[in-house]
């Protein structure tokens, strides 16, 4: 289902946000922010707490609606009314709280809300689950992403922090066709587990997705991101290619010093 879309509009950035404005009451959370992301690129979205990063990605993933400005996907302006809208437009989000179902297995989590089921003539909700196909796809995806999940039949509640993070990232890989947004994917992880998640993000990029990565870790930014956009108090204050040399510059942009 992805092939023909991969080839469409190669001249456009796969996702561009233009003139995004969002206010909550008297608080201006986003003030005329524009960003572009291309396929196969990792864009780091940086900023201090309250800079507007989360608001921006919530607008892209359909949780909030923009007051002004537009979200353009593959050259076409989209109105994202709900997370479901964003998902069907090919945008997947890995939330900071992971949004995993602790009582379900990894396969059940992957396909939650998008279960493979039949027969087609039944209303969708009444269809019978095709558990075998969902398990097979889960297994092959986990293999291709090189994630180690020894207990595929256990519920997610029993898994470690890194495994849970990997499941949430891998879930986005099942359905992502264009854009994957990751909100602080390594914030709660140790070194070894962070490493695995970073590799996973690289794998997602190599599959042709545009990635928006929110993180506070400058090492990860310089290692992974092709570009970095810095927000401060709801405005875009800078955009550059992060290297080891300009790390200090990035940090001062973030804190505004």
């Amino acid at each position: 289902m992805t092939q023909h879309q991969l080839a469409a509009h190669p001249q456009h950035p796969v996702l561009s946000v233009r003139g995004a404005c969002k206010r909550f009451g008297s608080v201006v959370a986003l003030d005329d922010v524009s960003i572009d992301v291309d396929r196969g690129e990792i864009l780091a979205l940086l900023g201090d707490n309250g800079a507007g990063k989360s608001t921006l990605i919530k607008c892209i993933s359909g949780v909030h609606r923009l007051d002004a400005g537009e979200v353009v996907i593959d050259g076409a302006a989209n109105v994202l009314r709900s997370p479901a809208d964003a998902r069907s437009a090919g945008i997947e989000t890995v939330y900071q709280d992971l949004a995993l179902f602790d009582n379900l297995t990894p396969a059940q989590n992957f396909f939650a809300g998008r279960e493979i089921a039949g027969p087609k003539w039944l209303p969708r909700a009444m269809r019978f689950l095709n558990k075998r196909r969902m398990d097979e796809q889960t297994r092959s995806l986990i293999q291709s992403l090189n994630v180690s999940l020894p207990h595929l039949n256990a519920v997610v509640a029993l898994m470690s922090g890194g495994q849970r993070q990997a499941i949430a990232v891998a879930r986005s890989a099942v359905f992502a066709r264009k854009v994957v947004i990751l909100d602080e994917p390594t914030a709660a992880l140790g070194l070894r587990e962070s490493r695995k998640v970073l590799d996973l993000i690289g794998a997602l990029r190599d599959r042709g997705n545009a990635i928006i990565l929110i993180t506070h870790n400058m090492e990860h930014v310089t290692e992974l991101a092709g570009r970095a956009v810095v927000l401060r108090q709801g405005r875009k204050v800078g955009e550059l290619v992060p290297t080891h040399g300009n790390k200090q510059e990035l940090v001062s942009m973030i804190v505004g010093a």
Partner: protein, 350 residues
Amino acid sequence: MTGMDEPLDPEVAEQRASAVANSERIAVAICLKMLGAGAILILFGLVLALSFLSPYFLSPRNLGNILAQTAVICVVAMGQHLVILTKGIDLSVGSNLALASVLGALSFHAGASTLTVVTVMVAAGAAVGAVNGLFYVYGRLPHPFIITLATLSIARGIALQLADGRAIPGMPPAIRSLGQEAFAGLPGSVFVVAGVAGLMFVLTQSTVWGRWMYAVGGRVDAAVRMGIPVSAVLVSTYLISGTCAGIGAVLLAGRTDAGSPLFGSLLELDTIAAVIIGGASFLGGRGHIGHALIGAIMIGVIRNALNLMNVGVFYQLIVIGVVIVVAVEADVLRNHLESRMRVLRTETGP
């Protein structure tokens, strides 16, 4: 073991720590497995002990009695289970059953056919369930406790008013024989229980809708973000719970050959207890139909045993209450062990 006082090589220390964590992990895993199988083990032990304590317990007649007496709890508990699965509670089931039985009896006396009487009872149950679900979800009530507590009172009140406070004797012969007679050696109500259980099993385990119920029970906000129609799923659980109460009304009316506004008092307690005792989680998202059935049968067995041993009905209430507390504590323990397991997996790797 002489080297305990000497400073350990860090690598050896790490190995020892990981060995300790590993054995703890195995212990925790075993405890979790036992908790998972707990209800059926206890039921088995109970039956075994009772067969020694009372010579009548295992007689076919007594077992048939237990099944017939428990059938109503079984059916209604299966509905209650779906509600609890989505972190809810349905307190109205007993009153709902009473109202349905009264409406059934009234329609029978008004000359309705057997099929109509059954339809009236089941539809009345479903209607009260729908009211519960719609008010809870679209009335934006903070907890289903409130609306089902209200319908507990309202449905009982309507039933008492309609029946003038008294039982209305008389049910169609087919309903009566379903509640009283045996087919192939089993009480007729057992077949109804089996049929409902089969349908519920398929719904919850094999359909997309059932999977959504588990997802909603696991985490509502995640279900919303995954595009699951949370409101419709929630309303459906109350609708099904009410329908089950209506089916329970048919069974109880058949057994007693009457519709009564006094039916089903404390049935909400029995069914909630059945679901929890059976091993479903009160915290939502866990458990299956089997848990509700095992719990209901366990309540039936405990009642029956206390009867056989001439223990008064007051003590029965106390025993059931104690069993509920034990079951909920087991659930709490299971959650604690699971988070411990997660910590251990994080420390020692997968």
